[in-house]
């Protein structure tokens, strides 16, 4: 790795996929693009609790991204490539977590990941926003880690994976703390019509809807509708769960996914994400038959609204 990574601001390159291109197919794209540029030029409000003040209206925010675990020798290059890909695709911010290579994660394992995520936030200031990843099974240690990451390190939310189904009581204290801290939880989820042996405690949209009913004030994000099995099932399962947002990430590019999600749960509950499938993520939104305004909401406004709920 040759490029300097320490505490240096990453210059924003002109993206190859312009904002206008991302919104294209929408009649008002040109107007909206001009408006957004004007807003950005006028200066924008910082997001309370975000790691930098650079989260601005009009920015494209990838709500589901990952930095590379350092057990992988290429981690530094991989992280740099992620930012370069975001540059090319016009993605302003990446909400990143880092997962342990083997799960269930140990407390030391998730603390190490979060330490490295915090380092990623320093290496790419204003580009990388951090999710604090914990295994709820570690109870007090998990809660302490969340408090440390959100309170001291400027993380923007919590990432939960598949160690526990989200409706298990062990998870509730995490949700209650997230409510107290006013931060979202991005929850790994999938629904397949068969038992996924290597993820026996996988949550799905139905579980998240149940959790949302128990905690209507929680801000939950159901991960990767386009990488989580039967997306039609997931969208329908979440129709009546207004405090669950759906993240559009995943490698699946099935035509009509975004439009169905918008029709069933409403466009205000959709947040753009890639989960490392970068061109798929961007292409789906670009291809969706939605208005420019709706795409603006999905690409960044909805996530920004969520993040702005946190008190300074």
């Amino acid at each position: 790795m040759t490029t300097a990574h320490t505490n240096q601001s990453v210059p924003e390159h002109r993206p190859q996929i312009s904002r206008r291109a991302l919104l294209k197919d929408s009649a008002a794209a040109v107007v909206a693009s001009a408006l957004l540029s004007a807003r950005a030029a006028a200066g924008e409000q910082p997001i309370p609790g975000a790691s930098s003040d650079s989260l601005r209206k009009g920015r494209v925010i990838d709500c589901h991204a990952h930095l590379t675990h350092r057990s992988r020798s290429t981690w530094e290059t991989d992280d740099r490539k992620l930012i370069e890909a975001a540059d090319k695709l016009g993605i302003g911010q990446l909400c990143c977590s880092m997962l342990t290579p083997h799960r269930p994660a140990t407390a030391d394992g998730f603390r190490e990941c979060n330490q490295w995520t915090a380092d990623g936030m320093r290496r790419f200031p204003g580009r990388v926003l951090g999710y604090c990843y914990v295994n709820p099974g570690y109870g007090r240690e998990a809660l302490e880690e969340i408090r440390r990451c959100i309170g001291d390190r400027g993380f923007i939310g919590i990432k939960l994976y598949n160690e526990y189904t989200c409706t298990e009581p062990l998870v509730f204290p995490i949700v209650e703390l997230a409510i107290k801290l006013d931060v979202p939880i991005l929850h790994h989820a999938s629904h397949s019509h068969y038992f996924v042996e290597d993820q026996p405690r996988m949550s799905d949209g139905g579980h998240l809807a149940e959790l949302a009913r128990r905690y209507p004030e929680a801000m939950l994000i159901c991960a990767h509708i386009s990488g989580g099995g039967d997306w039609e099932w997931t969208i329908k399962a979440l129709r009546h769960a207004p405090n669950v947002l759906l993240d559009t990430s995943g490698s699946v590019t099935d035509e009509g996914t975004v439009e169905m999600a918008a029709a069933v749960v409403g466009v205000d509950r959709l947040v753009f994400g890639c989960d490392s499938s970068m061109t798929a993520g961007v292409g789906k939104i670009r291809g969706a038959n939605l208005s420019t305004q709706d795409k603006e909401k999905i690409l960044g406004e909805n996530m920004m609204k969520l993040l702005r709920r946190r008190k300074p």
Partner: protein, 258 residues
């Protein structure tokens, strides 16, 4: 000019497809500036008698042959496939095939498949092979059709050096001989890009380096897929405009004699 080598018409058994008539697909193509598309029947993937889907496609593309290039879905395990092949080629003017061994329950190594590949090659037909139809994680409770193993494709291209194959909806080629430089395989196959990464691992770029620009073709998988992800890949690809033009259209046009 953009030529999509991976498009479909008709209904799919497990999910509603939009833009799946000739008129609707052409409208979608217009909106994305895609000039021509190779189409086959989505219905034939699950029809017992695949020829019924070929007949539907032949009827749909009538009057649009300047833009829609029909391919036949042939199941070599089904009665009368030789007649179907002859009709598809000679009467319907279908320039190539799409094969679904896992969906139609046969193997590339089976004698009937050998016969079909040889017959199609004799006719100068291109043989396209979708590595998958849809992501297996979202499969119906009724069936489990795994992706085609790339190792089987390696054996296939080796066994039929005179045949011409287009591999669709695949990924991970660089992890097997198909995508490696100097792999000793005949250069009788091209790889379609709809699922390849163009950033991060950038498998698309690696394939161009390893195999040459001539071996990569543009495809979207529409209307199963949004066409835009494939278009975005080409836009962000680090390649010369001349190379992009080969991928966008020239390679496919040469193979399909358009």
């Amino acid at each position: 000019m953009i030529v999509d080598v991976n498009a479909y018409l008709g209904h799919f058994a497990f999910r509603r497809l939009r833009h799946n008539t000739a008129a609707a697909l052409l409208a979608l193509m217009d909106s994305k500036k895609i000039d021509k598309a190779v189409v086959s029947s989505a219905g034939s993937i699950t029809y017992r008698n695949a020829q019924a889907g070929n007949e539907e496609v032949a009827a749909e593309v009538r009057g649009h042959r300047d833009r829609l290039i029909p391919f036949a879905v042939i199941n070599p395990f089904y009665a009368g496939w030789q007649d179907d092949l002859k009709i598809c080629h000679e009467e319907f003017g279908m320039a190539g095939l799409r094969l679904y061994p896992n969906w139609h329950n046969y193997q590339f190594s089976s004698s009937c498949c050998r016969e079909l590949v040889n017959a199609a090659t004799e006719r100068g037909m291109v043989i396209s092979i979708p590595i998958r139809v849809e992501d297996n994680r979202q499969r119906s409770w009724l069936l489990n059709v795994p992706d085609l193993p790339l190792e089987e494709i390696v054996e296939l291209v080796k066994a039929y050096p005179k045949a011409r194959f287009i591999l669709l909806n695949g990924i991970g080629y660089t992890g097997c001989p198909l995508g490696r430089k100097d792999n000793g395989l005949p250069s009788n196959y091209a790889i379609e890009l709809s699922r390849l990464s163009a950033v991060l691992a950038n498998e698309l770029g690696q394939l161009i380096t390893n195999l040459g620009t001539e071996r990569v073709m543009f495809g979207t998988g529409m209307p199963f897929n949004y066409p835009d992800p494939a278009l975005v890949k080409l836009e962000v690809l680090d390649a010369s405009e001349a190379d992009k033009e080969k991928i966008r259209s020239q390679n496919a046009m040469a193979w399909l004699q358009l």
